[in-house]
């Protein structure tokens, strides 16, 4: 990763313009060409430095349901339960974390009502309690990762 790659990452985490030739506009600011900018983005996406490039949609404002949920799973049953939980298409992310509550997953559903149904199904299929922790308020963050 060279200085231009870092400049692209640090300057393009938001504010990509909506205009006829947005790459040309950004490239001008970064002192490069649109072609070079597009080529760099392709490489950064291919090698996994960037996980995506484009509009980031606000899931709940699209009308769906979204929540964070946690379970306490005994170590010797963890893999079996992870497999069951991951098989639900509504499970968008699932992380193992160090705590008594050791499995944390995000549910994203087509409708808000569907959240409770999926939680009930996970409890039924795994035999463990699901602690539902929907957000009550989201606080503004100015997320910027420095490269």
């Amino acid at each position: 990763m060279d200085a231009l790659d870092r400049a692209i990452i640090n300057n393009l985490q938001g504010g990509f313009p909506v205009c006829d030739e947005p790459y040309r506009e950004v490239a001008g600011r970064l002192g490069t060409s649109a072609e070079e900018l597009m080529r760099r983005l392709d490489v950064l996406l291919e090698n996994g430095t960037l996980s995506r490039f484009g509009p980031m949609y606000h899931a709940e404002r699209l009308g769906g349901g979204l929540t964070l949920a946690a379970m306490q799973i005994p170590t010797d049953d963890f893999e079996r339960v992870a497999e069951i939980v991951n098989a639900f298409p509504e499970v968008a992310h699932n992380y193992a974390r160090e705590h008594a509550l050791n499995m944390w997953f995000v549910l994203a559903t087509e409708t808000p009502e569907r959240i409770d149904q999926v939680i009930a199904a996970i409890e039924r299929d795994t035999g463990y309690t699901v602690h539902n922790m929907p957000k009550r308020e989201e606080f503004f963050v100015g997320l910027r990762f420095e490269a």
């Binding site: 692209i8 990452i9 393009l12 985490q13 938001g14 504010g15 990509f16 909506v18 205009c19 006829d20 030739e21 947005p22 790459y23 597009m38 080529r39 950064l44 996406l45 090698n47 996994g48 430095t49 960037l50 996980s51 995506r52 490039f53 484009g54 509009p55 980031m56 606000h58 899931a59 709940e60 404002r61 699209l62 009308g63 946690a70 306490q72 992870a82 939980v85 968008a92 992310h93 699932n94 992380y95 193992a96 160090e98 705590h99 008594a100 509550l101 499995m103 994203a108 087509e110 409708t111 808000p112 922790m133 929907p134 308020e137 989201e138 606080f139 503004f140 963050v141 100015g142 990762f145």
Partner: protein
């Protein structure tokens, strides 16, 4: 999909309805923008719309918050932020809004939410995701949050992720 229910958070209650064309644009762009000279024209051609229409609707969705932002999402792991700690805090409910705003504004915090407690197993009501190059860096940032909270910090802990079990992201169809 259905509109937001009446019980939705106040900040989301003005969510406008999306029509079928907005949905087509979302489906066409949720995995990314094409790297071509005129990306919005390319999307428009694919959907049989004009580029002006696509750009107008994207601007509208930005203005209403349906789109949080347009840009690059770095993989924090690839950038060397290997430690990811979910710090969770038990703060007085009547102060959670004020304190959440304060903590969310810190550079080290990538997500900050008020969530319900689940007593007795889970006394925490404020969640702040903290990233660092290693756990020591995360711990320093967590201590900084504790100092900011002062006596409002009635207890906290940090949950480190040890494994990603699944990561597919959000998709509408």
């Amino acid at each position: 999909m259905t509109p937001r229910p009446a019980s939705a958070m106040h900040m989301d209650s003005a969510a406008p309805l999306l029509d079928a064309i907005d949905r087509q644009i979302i489906v066409a762009t949720q995995s990314g923008l094409p790297r071509v000279a005129r990306p919005y024209h390319a999307i428009a051609a694919q959907l049989n719309l004009t580029a002006e229409e696509v750009m107008r609707r994207l601007q509208q969705m930005l203005a209403t918050g349906i789109i949080r932002r347009i840009g690059a999402v770095p993989n924090h792991y690839a950038l060397g932020y290997k430690a990811n700690g979910m710090s969770v805090w038990d703060v007085p409910d009547e102060r959670v809004h004020e304190l959440g705003e304060k903590i969310g504004a810190l550079d080290a915090v990538s997500h900050c939410y008020h969530r319900p407690r689940h007593l007795p197993a889970w006394p925490y009501n404020l969640f702040a995701m903290v990233h660092g190059r290693d756990r020591d860096e995360v711990e320093v940032k967590v201590r900084h949050i504790a100092e900011l909270l002062g006596t409002a910090d009635r207890g906290h802990t940090v949950l480190y992720s040890t494994r990603i079990l699944k990561k597919t992201g959000l998709r509408i169809t």
